[in-house]
């Protein structure tokens, strides 16, 4: 049967509603949990706004947003090809080790700008290389890339920690960490702000990939491959090279995110530190429907939320892990919203019939008795 198109604006509204609802629900349920823990949810959320936005705190949020956004784009590129690069932690830390390990010396030996470029390219190459084995296994043998990227990630985290404690250990401190890049050799601020230029890099990356994914032959091939691998084969798209290219881009961007984070925000890397940016933004790239442009506001929202909530939870005497509770709730509600939305698109009722029958059954027998 044909399904005629709904008007464009109607679909637009639908997409916005479906994207925003899960976040709203997550915040509401989060409030209930806070209330159950004996905290005042309104104060908590007000603290988040105060610490994430007000009084120039928005600048902290923007600093956090740079690596998150680049990483979001990295995930969007592979996810659009229906490939799962879940090894972001390992790729990020290896890229970070490269930037933080060579940063202190390189920035002193050459013009800083040149050092930034070399360190970034190095981190990009390291991140990309770390995806090569899973990519090749997937392309050649169809090996499940979820497992291989996760395994490679664990190995990558281990190697990063070994490097921090080994060759890159700062000899002047006891804690296992790399030497710090001198403050004046870090990425410069955007004039008039406390936000480093990594933010501009992130926005440029997002815009560039928006153009690449929506306006070029590569983007179209990627969409054909992602939405319909059978059609891709039919059209003559080389799926093997597509898999490898997508993984390399993804890993490379994650390396870039690490370089910007190290050079712009942290300046050094401590062993056993893992920010797991990928886990945090995962639901948001899906809420953005894998669109680089749409991911900008979502990741901005999360950056503000995370920056504010980190301080707010300390003030409220909560663990920072409460953040991940909210992120997980977003995921849960996103799944429900999608399920309901799909049901509605198909013109079916929202609840499974078996479930409804199970509720109806006791009453049905009662009514039958009364009528007969």
């Amino acid at each position: 049967m044909t399904r005629s198109e709904r008007p464009r604006w109607r679909r637009g509204v639908d997409i916005v509603v479906r994207s925003v609802l899960p976040v709203l629900f997550a915040l509401i349920v989060g409030a209930i949990i806070l209330w159950a823990l004996g905290k005042d949810p309104l104060t908590f959320y007000a603290d988040i706004v105060a610490n994430g936005l007000a009084d120039g705190n928005w600048q902290n949020s923007m600093v956090l947003m740079s690596p998150l956004l680049i990483m979001g784009i990295a995930l969007i590129v592979v996810f659009r090809g229906q490939l799962w690069n879940l090894g972001y932690d390992g790729q990020y830390l290896l890229g970070a080790v490269f930037a933080a390990g060579f940063g202190p010396t390189l920035t002193q030996q050459m013009p800083p700008f040149l050092a930034y470029v070399i360190l970034s390219i190095g981190a990009i190459v390291v991140g990309a290389l770390w995806t090569l084995i899973p990519a090749w296994l997937k392309a050649r043998y169809g090996t499940n890339e979820i497992i291989t990227t996760l395994v490679m990630s664990t190995i990558g985290i281990g190697i990063a920690n070994m490097l921090i404690k080994g060759v890159f250990q700062d000899p002047n401190v006891v804690t296992p960490q790399t030497a710090a890049i001198p403050l004046d050799a870090m990425l410069p601020f955007i004039p008039g702000t406390q936000v480093n230029i990594g933010f501009i890099v992130a926005i440029v990356v997002a815009l560039a990939f928006h153009v690449i994914l929506t306006r070029t032959s590569f983007g179209l091939r990627l969409d054909v491959y992602g939405s319909n691998p059978k059609a891709a084969r039919h059209v003559g798209i080389n799926s093997r090279s597509m898999v490898v290219v997508l993984f390399l881009i993804s890993g490379g961007l994650i390396g870039l995110a690490a370089a910007m984070d190290m050079l712009g925000q942290w300046g050094y890397l401590r062993a056993n530190w893992n920010p797991s940016y990928g886990n945090e933004i995962l639901p948001f790239v899906f809420l953005a429907r894998l669109s680089p442009l749409a991911s900008i506001p979502f990741i901005a929202f999360y950056a503000v939320f995370a920056t504010g909530a980190t301080i707010a939870s300390q003030q409220a005497g909560l663990s920072v892990d409460f953040l991940m509770v909210i992120v997980a709730l977003v995921l849960v509600f996103m799944t429900i919203t999608e399920y309901v939305g799909t049901k509605r698109d198909l013109g079916q009722s929202y609840l499974p019939d078996e479930l409804k029958d199970a509720f109806r059954r006791p009453f049905a027998s009662m009514t039958r008795r009364t009528t007969s």
């Binding site: 399904r3 306006r215 084969r233 059209v235 003559g236 080389n238």
Partner: protein, 534 residues
């Protein structure tokens, strides 16, 4: 008879079901009575499938009611339909080839542990009823098609038996297998079961049906009760049914003759222009081609054939006997494990899909929804799908929207694709228009050889006509066509020669002349290793 059959009347009352933009069923009422074969006739798109979906519990009607013996029932899910003893045999196989028959039959059971003893007892009951010997532990993949269908029927009747719905059960069967099916249906009917038999072939409806209901554009336009059928000759029934099926379109379809052809009322003969292909140069040649694959559908063994300029070479065969593999190996989507593919005497065996496209080889896949098009992309992009990256539509990889739109507009106009706009998702179009998009893309430009698999499958009357015209036009202008189809009638109308494929081998080739072709092809199908009937 050891089988408890639930008798009674299933009534559909004023069933209406609309989808955005389409009324699939418009106030349809009909009674399905035990011990009768109820034929449901209608063109593709007339609303037959929707009506079955409602009976099978897959869709809920917008309004109207379903009653069993006067008691309203809700068929809210496939399970609910099954609980009421309604079973459906779909056009496509729903059996898992790697499982045994008994495992396939037990798939729908909900208990924690397998109760194989009970299952085998049930299978014996059903085998008795069907008059078939079904061996519970043989692999499903080893079965012939007729036997597979018997297992499908057993599966549909597994949990209960009140109503059996057969959706186009004969389209893939040989004449002999159709007779066997008719016997089965008669036996079930005698056992008190109600049978709904969906077909678009009139002669079958007349032969097997006790009553006939015709749907057109979602409406119940004709009902012939058992009494009505008895008093009339086949010709009279044909007249009435054709008029009901096509209504005002009867003239548009080329009068009653053409309509009755399309409705499968009569035997067919070739209609394409005769050519002496031996005098013409060879375009496509396969030299002992074999492929490997996991399913029978994609494996071909030692196939040699040649298609000449202006020739339509048909491949007949039962679904799943290597047609997909043959089409794919020619198109370059599947590597040949041995043998050669030659295009204009040039060896292209090692070349990929795009290189063969550049040489003028085109392939229209039978899976137009999931392979031929990308449903989520626009009509315009789907028309350009095989030219991604080519100038002037892409410059330095950057999309040139206006060039693409202009080209797509031209193709939409030339091939009469009915679409709200170029930006409409192709998945929102009707099957006929999707097929027009596919054929427009493949025939456009310098196409020289076209491989086309089941080009009219599931299409409405007018589009079938149009597709046939497109193919004959292409051949008349010197194009070569390798036409794979499981509709024998279609091959007889279009092809100059017909090769019969069975288990991945070409078991024989028939010159399509005169009226004997169907019989010859049928013989090759049976003799060619089809271990179908006992």
């Amino acid at each position: 008879m050891t089988l408890a059959v639930e008798t009674g009347v299933i009534s559909l009352k004023h069933i209406t079901k609309t989808f955005p933009g389409v009324t699939a069923n418009d106030d349809v009422s009909l009674d399905i009575v035990s011990g009768q074969v109820h034929c449901l006739l209608g063109e593709n798109g007339a609303g037959k499938s929707t009506l079955i979906s409602i009976l099978a519990g897959m869709q809920q009607p917008d309004s109207g009611a379903i009653e069993i013996d006067g008691v309203p029932v809700r068929l809210g899910s496939p399970r609910a339909a099954k609980d009421h003893g309604i079973g459906v045999v779909y056009q496509h196989s729903t059996l898992v080839p790697t499982l045994s028959i008994i495992e396939n039959l037990m798939l729908g059971e909900t208990g924690l542990l397998k109760n194989e003893k009970r299952a085998i007892a049930r299978l014996e009951e059903l085998s008795d009823l069907l008059g078939a010997a079904i061996r519970p532990h043989s692999r499903t993949s080893e079965l012939g098609l007729g036997q597979q269908q018997q297992v499908e029927i057993a599966k549909a009747m597994w949990t209960g038996s009140r109503l059996l719905i057969l959706d186009e059960p004969t389209s893939m069967l040989t004449p002999r297998a159709i007779d066997a099916l008719a016997e089965n249906v008669a036996r079930l009917k005698a056992g008190g079961l109600a049978v709904v038999f969906i077909t678009h072939k009139l002669r079958e409806a007349y032969a097997m049906g006790d009553c006939i209901t015709v749907l057109r554009a979602g409406k119940n336009v004709l009902h012939l009760a058992p009494g009505d059928l008895e008093g009339r000759s086949e010709d009279q029934v044909q007249d009435a049914v054709l008029k009901a099926m096509f209504g005002g379109d009867l003239a548009a379809a080329g009068g009653k003759g053409a309509a009755s052809d399309l409705a499968g009322a009569t035997e067919r003969t070739r209609e394409s222009v005769a050519i002496d292909y031996t005098q013409r140069p060879t375009r496509l040649r396969l030299d002992g081609i074999s492929t490997r694959g996991k399913t029978m559908d994609v494996v071909v063994t030692d196939v040699s054939l040649s298609v000449h300029e202006g020739e339509i070479f048909g491949i007949a065969g039962i679904d799943g006997h290597g047609q997909t593999g043959l089409a794919e190996v020619v198109a370059g989507q599947r590597p040949a494990s041995s043998g050669r593919v030659l295009l204009d005497d040039v060896d292209v065996t090692g070349k990929g899909v795009r290189e063969r496209q550049a040489l003028g080889l085109r392939y229209a896949s039978d899976d137009r929804l999931h392979e031929g098009t990308v449903g989520s992309l626009s009509v315009a992009l789907n028309l350009m799908l095989k030219r991604i990256g080519e100038a002037p539509f892409w410059r330095w990889g950057y999309t040139n929207r206006s060039a693409i739109d202009a080209e797509a507009r031209q193709m939409v106009d030339d091939y009469e694709v009915r679409t709200p706009s170029l930006t409409t998702r192709v998945g929102a179009l009707s099957g006929g228009n999707i097929q027009k998009v596919v054929l427009a893309r493949e025939l456009k430009g310098d196409a020289r050889v076209l491989v086309v698999n089941k080009p009219t499958y599931g299409l409405d009357l007018k589009t079938v006509q149009l597709v046939h015209e497109l193919l004959t036009d292409f051949a008349e202008k010197g194009g070569s066509v390798l036409l794979l189809s499981n509709e024998l009638d279609e091959l007889i109308v279009l092809a100059h020669r017909i090769g019969v494929i069975s288990h991945g081998r070409i078991v024989g080739t028939v010159e399509n002349r005169g009226t004997e072709t169907a019989a010859k092809v049928g013989q090759l199908m049976i003799g060619g290793g089809e271990h179908d009937q006992k």
